[in-house]
């Protein structure tokens, strides 16, 4: 096992949608991130000036790295945290990458005619606990992407997915039928690092919180 460098703070960053906003946030909090950050295909980027090592991971895996302590802290969507239920501290709402979780279906969908309800989702745990709370019996089908396909070709009647602008749904002829919960990105911390590297982490939380608060008040 690779032991994390005890001096550098290891930060797990999600690749893709959230990445740019998360990087911008860190720069606003005065972390001197190397310029190569934006284009690099590297999976590990060290920034000795910032005292940090960044690992670039698939968004769904960020809480896993943090739970196991190979990353001290990370940026993860609330959707992922709800789905993965990892044992990590959820310290700050970064208020970036705002979107929401929703149930969608074809406009012709008729709940009364739905004898064997099937839900397709990238988030089987989240979807399952949501429908259980609603008292609705459903079958969850896990897909890894292009969820909108499922109702169109008849794999499922409804889908559970994140919606940011609603464009993807519209382009595929789907309509939103229920809003489940708002989603934003969160700053998460490994419970051990939270104590063993408390100075570095507390400082980071404070600086980021100041930026988030500042944005809100603008």
């Amino acid at each position: 096992m690779m032991t994390p460098d005890s001096k550098l703070l290891t930060v797990a960053m999600p690749k893709g949608r959230i990445f740019d906003e998360a990087v911008a946030l860190l720069r606003k909090a005065d972390y001197p991130l190397p310029p190569e950050f934006d284009e690099s295909r590297k999976l590990i980027i060290d920034s000795p000036e910032a005292g940090m090592r960044f690992i670039l991971a698939k968004p769904m895996d960020v809480p896993t790295y943090v739970e196991h302590g190979v990353a001290d802290v990370g940026v993860a969507g609330k959707d992922v945290l709800l789905e993965e239920k990892r044992d990590v501290y959820e310290v700050l709402d970064l208020k970036i990458s705002a979107c929401y979780m929703a149930v969608a279906a074809l406009p012709t969908y008729n709940p009364k005619a739905d004898i064997a309800p099937k839900i397709a989702s990238k988030y089987p745990n989240l979807a399952s606990s949501y429908f259980r709370e609603q008292g609705e019996q459903v079958e969850i089908i896990k897909l890894n992407g292009s969820i909108e396909l499922a109702p169109i070709i008849g794999l499922a009647d409804r889908i559970v997915d994140i919606v940011s602008t609603g464009r993807t749904l519209k382009e595929n002829g789907l309509v939103e039928i229920e809003t489940m919960m708002p989603i934003t990105s969160r700053f998460i911390v490994n419970p051990v690092s939270y104590r063993t590297k408390s100075e570095q982490i507390d400082d980071m939380v404070e600086r980021i919180a100041a930026v988030v608060e500042g944005e809100k008040n603008q």
């Binding site: 005890s6 990590v88 959820e90 700050l92 419970p191 051990v192």
Partner: protein, 396 residues
């Protein structure tokens, strides 16, 4: 279910091979010696307990219990921890013995794991229980003994977080005024969800002062000066009393000369309802999970109809050995005697003599080995008693 391979084990079960066994044993022996020297008497309890008794009062959630039925149809559990069985004993067989009672254990515990199958479902725990003493000295003693045990095990870079669940409960109650709301906030702390905690605060119809006081709870983490900060926020008698207890505990730990590795964390909630007072967790640098934990559980013995205060700690041997991270070298036996039938007796006498001198001696009949060179390469010293005459030949 797919057909099992013959070498498969149930999910989460692990074999311990000689190298790791050796390391574990060294760690266990070092800790056992230390806790014995502090006056804790070792006991053993059965692997199986009734679900209705020990199973239901233990701190481990129902989904994590391994359950089975006995012939009468009673539900049994594989013990998920050692604290509940020890509470059962001290409330029954040992009920009339002198208090305080100091007991120690070293035993495997069982917790069913769903996720990823890799997390151990059986692991060894070493710990102590100090029963019948509600004083700060007792809390201090178990923390000091846990730290000393960790050090004796050979771990240097570790940290202890100390909190007080009585403080959390009293503080939340004085602001929120009812137990149901306290439960909601305690759950957010247990789930480590500060974001949810703050959002819940914003939703409640509280004065801005009380909202601020609730949010301040999340920042009560650091050195002993945190207690003063908490005292400025506290208003009710029980809250202030729990802070006094913490202060006295710090004094006890200072008398032990321990404070460098200790961090106060007043929002540490390790279990939703089990603990009642001082709680603590131990961490090692470079390992993502706690290596041990403990605290005061004054409500548990009552469930066995013997209300009395109690505190204790448990260390996870698997994580402790992982944190030590020693390179595991293959065990090399000292000596080997390779003999043939003609000189068996002579070889045996030599082996006996060397063993009496304290050496480890493997005796191996030549007929039993297919590759003599490869076999003998494992040993530091190989002596041959082969052939019909002459003296024992030395090699290497």
């Amino acid at each position: 279910m797919t057909k099992l391979f013959m070498f498969e084990k149930p999910v989460g079960m692990k074999d311990t091979l000689p190298e790791l066994y050796q390391l574990k044993k060294e760690v266990k022996d070092a800790i056992a010696k230390e806790v014995t020297q502090w006056g804790y008497a070792a006991i053993e309890t059965p692997t199986l307990e009734y679900y209705e008794t020990v199973g239901s009062v233990s701190a481990i959630t129902d989904q994590q219990l391994f359950k089975l039925l006995d012939q009468e149809g009673n539900t049994l559990v594989l013990r998920p921890d050692m604290t509940a069985p020890i509470a059962r004993i001290s409330a029954s067989t040992l009920k009339n013995t002198q208090r305080p009672l100091r007991l120690t254990y070293d035993a495997p515990v069982f917790r069913s794991q769903q996720r990823e199958g890799g997390k151990p479902a059986e692991f060894e725990q070493i710990g102590v229980e100090l029963i019948g003493d509600g004083s700060n000295s007792a809390d201090g003693e178990v923390i000091a003994l846990m730290m000393s045990s960790i050090e004796k095990a050979g771990l240097e870079n570790y940290q202890i977080a100390v909190g007080h669940i009585g403080f959390v409960n009293a503080y939340l109650f004085e602001i929120l005024g009812n137990e149901a709301r306290v439960e909601v906030f305690r759950r957010y702390l247990f789930e480590k969800n500060y974001v949810g905690f703050r959002k819940e605060v914003d939703q409640l119809p509280l004065s801005s002062i009380d909202q601020r006081r609730l949010k301040e709870l999340l920042t009560l983490k650091g050195g002993p000066d945190i207690i003063n900060k908490a005292r400025q926020l506290a208003e009710s008698e029980p809250t202030i009393k729990s802070l006094q207890q913490l202060e006295q505990l710090i004094e006890v730990l200072e008398a032990y000369n321990l404070k460098d590795n200790i961090l106060l964390d007043l929002n540490l909630v390790m279990h939703i309802s089990y603990y009642t007072g001082v709680v603590f967790e131990a961490y090692s640098e470079g390992l993502g999970f706690p290596i041990g934990s403990g605290g005061r559980y004054d409500g548990l013995l009552e469930k066995f109809h013997d209300p009395e205060p109690a505190t204790g700690f448990g260390l996870r041997l698997d994580r402790l050995t992982e944190a030590l991270g020693k390179t595991k070298e293959a065990i090399r036996n000292d000596m080997c005697i390779i003999f043939s039938n003609e000189r068996r007796k002579e070889a045996m006498e030599k082996a006996k003599q060397w063993r009496e001198e304290g050496h480890t001696v493997v005796m191996q009949d030549l007929i039993g080995i297919s590759d003599v060179d490869a076999y003998s390469a494992q040993f530091n010293n190989v002596t041959y008693f082969v052939g019909s005459n002459g003296n024992g030949g030395h090699a290497k």
